[in-house]
Symmetry: C2
Subunit: 134 residues, 2 copies
Amino acid sequence: MKPSRVLETCLYVDDLEAAEEFYRDVIGLTFYAKVPGRHVFFRCGDGMVLLFNPDVTRQSTPPLFSPHGTVGDGHVAFHMTPDEIDGWRDHLEGHGIEIEQEFTWPGGGVSIYFRDPDGNSLEVATPQVWEMEK
Amino acid sequence: MKPSRVLETCLYVDDLEAAEEFYRDVIGLTFYAKVPGRHVFFRCGDGMVLLFNPDVTRQSTPPLFSPHGTVGDGHVAFHMTPDEIDGWRDHLEGHGIEIEQEFTWPGGGVSIYFRDPDGNSLEVATPQVWEMEK
Protein backbone atom coordinates (compact mmCIF):
# COMPACT_ATOMS: atom_id res chain seq x y z
CA MET A 1 0.00 0.00 0.00
CA LYS A 2 1.28 3.42 -0.93
CA PRO A 3 -0.77 6.63 -0.84
CA SER A 4 -0.63 8.71 -4.00
CA ARG A 5 -0.88 11.96 -2.07
CA VAL A 6 -1.60 13.71 1.22
CA LEU A 7 -5.32 14.46 1.43
CA GLU A 8 -5.50 16.50 4.66
CA THR A 9 -2.88 18.86 6.06
CA CYS A 10 -3.73 20.32 9.49
CA LEU A 11 -2.74 23.25 11.63
CA TYR A 12 -4.06 24.26 15.04
CA VAL A 13 -5.07 27.80 15.91
CA ASP A 14 -6.58 29.58 18.87
CA ASP A 15 -8.34 32.23 16.79
CA LEU A 16 -10.40 30.53 14.10
CA GLU A 17 -11.96 33.76 12.82
CA ALA A 18 -8.57 35.37 12.23
CA ALA A 19 -7.39 32.15 10.60
CA GLU A 20 -10.40 31.99 8.28
CA GLU A 21 -9.76 35.52 7.04
CA PHE A 22 -6.01 34.99 6.72
CA TYR A 23 -6.06 31.66 4.86
CA ARG A 24 -8.80 32.91 2.54
CA ASP A 25 -7.57 36.44 1.81
CA VAL A 26 -3.79 36.20 2.21
CA ILE A 27 -3.02 32.58 1.30
CA GLY A 28 -5.81 32.40 -1.26
CA LEU A 29 -7.28 29.05 -0.25
CA THR A 30 -10.84 28.12 -1.15
CA PHE A 31 -13.24 28.06 1.80
CA TYR A 32 -14.96 24.71 2.18
CA ALA A 33 -16.79 24.53 5.54
CA LYS A 34 -16.62 25.57 9.17
CA VAL A 35 -18.05 24.89 12.58
CA PRO A 36 -17.58 28.08 14.64
CA GLY A 37 -15.33 27.47 17.60
CA ARG A 38 -14.18 24.06 16.32
CA HIS A 39 -12.71 24.24 12.82
CA VAL A 40 -12.51 25.90 9.42
CA PHE A 41 -11.69 23.82 6.34
CA PHE A 42 -10.18 24.92 3.03
CA ARG A 43 -9.48 23.25 -0.27
CA CYS A 44 -6.01 23.63 -1.79
CA GLY A 45 -5.55 21.96 -5.18
CA ASP A 46 -6.49 18.30 -4.77
CA GLY A 47 -6.03 18.38 -1.01
CA MET A 48 -7.54 19.99 2.07
CA VAL A 49 -6.07 22.35 4.65
CA LEU A 50 -7.85 21.90 7.97
CA LEU A 51 -7.55 24.40 10.82
CA PHE A 52 -8.69 23.20 14.21
CA ASN A 53 -9.14 24.66 17.68
CA PRO A 54 -7.11 22.09 19.65
CA ASP A 55 -8.99 22.80 22.88
CA VAL A 56 -12.06 21.29 21.21
CA THR A 57 -10.57 18.55 19.04
CA ARG A 58 -8.47 17.17 21.89
CA GLN A 59 -11.76 16.46 23.66
CA SER A 60 -13.27 14.54 20.73
CA THR A 61 -14.68 11.19 21.68
CA PRO A 62 -14.25 8.05 19.58
CA PRO A 63 -15.91 6.43 17.76
CA LEU A 64 -17.39 9.61 16.28
CA PHE A 65 -14.13 11.52 16.05
CA SER A 66 -10.56 10.65 16.90
CA PRO A 67 -9.02 13.12 19.35
CA HIS A 68 -6.09 15.18 18.13
CA GLY A 69 -4.68 18.63 18.75
CA THR A 70 -1.34 20.30 19.33
CA VAL A 71 0.06 23.38 21.01
CA GLY A 72 3.01 25.30 19.66
CA ASP A 73 3.85 26.50 16.18
CA GLY A 74 3.28 24.04 13.35
CA HIS A 75 4.58 24.37 9.81
CA VAL A 76 3.08 24.08 6.33
CA ALA A 77 4.62 24.99 2.98
CA PHE A 78 2.57 25.93 -0.05
CA HIS A 79 3.70 25.50 -3.64
CA MET A 80 4.73 28.51 -5.70
CA THR A 81 6.20 28.63 -9.19
CA PRO A 82 9.52 30.40 -9.83
CA ASP A 83 7.74 33.20 -11.68
CA GLU A 84 5.51 33.82 -8.64
CA ILE A 85 8.35 34.63 -6.21
CA ASP A 86 8.17 38.40 -6.67
CA GLY A 87 4.39 38.26 -6.67
CA TRP A 88 4.23 36.43 -3.35
CA ARG A 89 6.73 38.80 -1.71
CA ASP A 90 4.72 41.81 -2.84
CA HIS A 91 1.43 40.17 -1.94
CA LEU A 92 2.53 39.36 1.62
CA GLU A 93 4.03 42.80 2.19
CA GLY A 94 0.90 44.38 0.73
CA HIS A 95 -1.11 42.59 3.41
CA GLY A 96 1.28 43.81 6.10
CA ILE A 97 2.69 40.33 6.67
CA GLU A 98 6.27 40.37 7.91
CA ILE A 99 8.58 38.16 5.85
CA GLU A 100 10.61 36.22 8.39
CA GLN A 101 13.19 35.21 5.83
CA GLU A 102 13.69 34.49 2.15
CA PHE A 103 16.12 31.75 1.30
CA THR A 104 17.62 30.43 -1.92
CA TRP A 105 18.68 26.85 -1.32
CA PRO A 106 22.09 25.60 -2.47
CA GLY A 107 20.47 22.97 -4.69
CA GLY A 108 18.05 25.45 -6.19
CA GLY A 109 14.62 26.56 -5.17
CA VAL A 110 13.41 29.51 -3.14
CA SER A 111 11.51 29.64 0.16
CA ILE A 112 9.75 32.62 1.70
CA TYR A 113 8.87 32.21 5.38
CA PHE A 114 6.23 34.09 7.35
CA ARG A 115 3.69 33.48 10.15
CA ASP A 116 -0.05 33.04 10.31
CA PRO A 117 -1.97 35.12 12.91
CA ASP A 118 -1.53 32.32 15.45
CA GLY A 119 2.24 32.07 15.01
CA ASN A 120 2.34 28.96 12.84
CA SER A 121 5.34 28.95 10.49
CA LEU A 122 4.23 29.19 6.88
CA GLU A 123 6.29 29.02 3.73
CA VAL A 124 5.76 29.44 0.04
CA ALA A 125 8.37 27.42 -1.80
CA THR A 126 9.21 26.47 -5.34
CA PRO A 127 9.19 22.70 -5.98
CA GLN A 128 12.89 22.85 -6.91
CA VAL A 129 13.55 22.95 -3.14
CA TRP A 130 12.61 19.26 -3.23
CA GLU A 131 14.14 18.43 -6.61
CA MET A 132 10.75 18.50 -8.29
CA GLU A 133 10.42 20.00 -11.74
CA LYS A 134 7.04 21.63 -11.05
CA MET B 1 -1.90 34.68 -5.35
CA LYS B 2 -3.21 31.18 -4.89
CA PRO B 3 -1.09 28.09 -4.27
CA SER B 4 -1.84 25.15 -6.52
CA ARG B 5 -1.05 22.65 -3.78
CA VAL B 6 0.43 21.99 -0.36
CA LEU B 7 4.12 21.22 -0.74
CA GLU B 8 5.09 20.27 2.84
CA THR B 9 2.92 18.56 5.44
CA CYS B 10 4.57 18.22 8.88
CA LEU B 11 4.19 16.14 11.98
CA TYR B 12 6.26 16.18 15.16
CA VAL B 13 7.56 13.05 16.84
CA ASP B 14 9.76 12.23 19.80
CA ASP B 15 11.10 8.99 18.31
CA LEU B 16 12.46 9.70 14.83
CA GLU B 17 13.80 6.18 14.30
CA ALA B 18 10.42 4.60 15.00
CA ALA B 19 8.80 7.18 12.77
CA GLU B 20 11.22 6.51 9.92
CA GLU B 21 10.45 2.81 9.99
CA PHE B 22 6.70 3.35 10.36
CA TYR B 23 6.23 5.91 7.61
CA ARG B 24 8.43 3.91 5.25
CA ASP B 25 7.18 0.38 5.94
CA VAL B 26 3.58 0.87 7.07
CA ILE B 27 2.49 4.04 5.27
CA GLY B 28 4.65 3.32 2.25
CA LEU B 29 6.18 6.77 1.81
CA THR B 30 9.42 7.23 -0.10
CA PHE B 31 12.41 8.12 2.09
CA TYR B 32 14.06 11.36 1.01
CA ALA B 33 16.57 12.51 3.65
CA LYS B 34 17.26 12.65 7.37
CA VAL B 35 19.38 14.32 10.00
CA PRO B 36 19.49 11.94 12.99
CA GLY B 37 17.92 13.53 16.03
CA ARG B 38 16.40 16.40 14.05
CA HIS B 39 14.20 15.20 11.19
CA VAL B 40 13.31 12.57 8.61
CA PHE B 41 11.76 13.62 5.30
CA PHE B 42 9.60 11.60 2.92
CA ARG B 43 8.12 12.18 -0.50
CA CYS B 44 4.40 11.46 -1.03
CA GLY B 45 3.14 12.02 -4.55
CA ASP B 46 4.03 15.58 -5.55
CA GLY B 47 4.41 16.70 -1.94
CA MET B 48 6.64 16.08 1.06
CA VAL B 49 5.85 14.68 4.52
CA LEU B 50 8.31 16.09 7.06
CA LEU B 51 8.73 14.60 10.52
CA PHE B 52 10.54 16.77 13.04
CA ASN B 53 11.80 16.45 16.59
CA PRO B 54 10.18 19.57 18.07
CA ASP B 55 12.74 19.81 20.86
CA VAL B 56 15.31 20.63 18.18
CA THR B 57 13.27 22.63 15.65
CA ARG B 58 11.83 24.90 18.32
CA GLN B 59 15.42 25.98 18.99
CA SER B 60 16.15 26.83 15.35
CA THR B 61 17.62 30.26 14.86
CA PRO B 62 16.62 32.62 12.06
CA PRO B 63 17.76 33.50 9.51
CA LEU B 64 18.99 29.97 8.79
CA PHE B 65 15.82 28.22 9.89
CA SER B 66 12.50 29.44 11.21
CA PRO B 67 11.65 27.93 14.58
CA HIS B 68 8.58 25.70 14.75
CA GLY B 69 7.50 22.65 16.71
CA THR B 70 4.41 21.37 18.50
CA VAL B 71 3.52 19.03 21.31
CA GLY B 72 0.42 16.87 21.32
CA ASP B 73 -1.12 14.68 18.66
CA GLY B 74 -1.28 16.12 15.15
CA HIS B 75 -3.31 14.77 12.27
CA VAL B 76 -2.64 13.90 8.63
CA ALA B 77 -4.85 12.05 6.15
CA PHE B 78 -3.47 10.13 3.18
CA HIS B 79 -5.38 9.46 -0.01
CA MET B 80 -6.74 6.00 -0.77
CA THR B 81 -8.93 4.85 -3.62
CA PRO B 82 -12.26 3.10 -2.92
CA ASP B 83 -10.82 -0.20 -4.15
CA GLU B 84 -7.95 0.07 -1.65
CA ILE B 85 -10.15 0.16 1.49
CA ASP B 86 -9.95 -3.58 2.19
CA GLY B 87 -6.27 -3.57 1.32
CA TRP B 88 -5.44 -0.80 3.78
CA ARG B 89 -7.42 -2.45 6.59
CA ASP B 90 -5.62 -5.75 6.02
CA HIS B 91 -2.28 -4.01 5.63
CA LEU B 92 -2.58 -2.09 8.91
CA GLU B 93 -3.79 -5.13 10.83
CA GLY B 94 -1.01 -7.19 9.29
CA HIS B 95 1.48 -4.74 10.77
CA GLY B 96 -0.21 -4.97 14.17
CA ILE B 97 -1.58 -1.43 13.92
CA GLU B 98 -4.80 -0.96 15.86
CA ILE B 99 -7.57 0.58 13.78
CA GLU B 100 -9.07 3.27 15.98
CA GLN B 101 -12.19 3.54 13.87
CA GLU B 102 -13.51 3.08 10.35
CA PHE B 103 -16.17 5.50 9.26
CA THR B 104 -18.39 5.80 6.18
CA TRP B 105 -19.43 9.42 5.87
CA PRO B 106 -23.07 10.37 5.17
CA GLY B 107 -22.08 12.12 1.94
CA GLY B 108 -19.93 9.21 0.78
CA GLY B 109 -16.32 8.36 1.32
CA VAL B 110 -14.59 6.15 3.84
CA SER B 111 -12.01 6.99 6.51
CA ILE B 112 -9.85 4.58 8.48
CA TYR B 113 -8.19 6.09 11.56
CA PHE B 114 -5.12 4.83 13.38
CA ARG B 115 -2.05 6.18 15.21
CA ASP B 116 1.63 6.52 14.41
CA PRO B 117 4.14 5.29 17.03
CA ASP B 118 4.17 8.74 18.62
CA GLY B 119 0.40 8.96 18.95
CA ASN B 120 -0.30 11.27 16.00
CA SER B 121 -3.73 10.66 14.49
CA LEU B 122 -3.45 9.26 10.98
CA GLU B 123 -6.15 8.51 8.46
CA VAL B 124 -6.44 6.95 5.07
CA ALA B 125 -9.46 8.38 3.31
CA THR B 126 -11.10 8.20 -0.07
CA PRO B 127 -11.36 11.58 -1.83
CA GLN B 128 -15.16 11.28 -1.83
CA VAL B 129 -14.96 12.39 1.83
CA TRP B 130 -14.20 15.84 0.40
CA GLU B 131 -16.47 15.61 -2.65
CA MET B 132 -13.53 14.92 -4.93
CA GLU B 133 -13.91 12.40 -7.72
CA LYS B 134 -10.42 10.98 -7.34
